[in-house]
Symmetry: C2
Subunit: 102 residues, 2 copies
């Protein structure tokens, strides 16, 4: 299966870990319903004060639509300095390196 | 299983796709042997001229050691403008969102 990745990160002062999970459980359930959504890793670096996500989508169009919507949503949360990329997966190399959901 | 992600991207003029895969097949096989390595997505955005990778490692220490080594290797290839992050995974939220290899 082809997968398109979305890579997002932004400055984040916390919460982290279980406190973050409790605050955003509803959002996580909502994200799972987005068109073309396959998976999301919720990412965090407490030392650098960075949070974000690595997502898989079933198509580039759905990945781009999600990134546009989510960037606006983050801005609405007051988040600035968002860095978001839609990335194609090089399938032959990623298969050698055992990437999931390919 | 706990997984630590490594997120790397850098300016890249090509090659892309199958040509990239042919050029870096040996490196992909080598990366699969790194300590703690779980998987790598090889990522590319031809329009923006960006390539990189999203990796899973079994521990933060192994993820950090890989990023240090790989950043030096990329610099040796003449790559500049490398952006590399070691990111913890928020497991409760990532499980809701069906992240693989957790």
């Amino acid at each position: 299966m082809a997968v398109t990745l979305v890579q997002v990160d932004f400055p984040h002062p916390g919460p982290w870990g279980d406190e973050m999970a409790a605050a955003f459980e509803g959002l996580a359930m909502s994200i799972a319903q987005e068109p073309g959504f396959l998976f999301k890793y919720w990412t965090e670096d407490r030392e650098k004060g960075i949070a974000g996500g690595i997502y898989g989508f079933a198509s580039r169009a759905e990945a781009e639509a999600y990134l546009t919507m989510h960037s606006a949503r983050l801005a609405g949360f007051g988040v600035t300095g968002i860095r978001g990329l839609v990335l194609e997966v090089n399938e032959p190399l990623s298969r050698i390196d055992r990437a999931p959901v390919l």
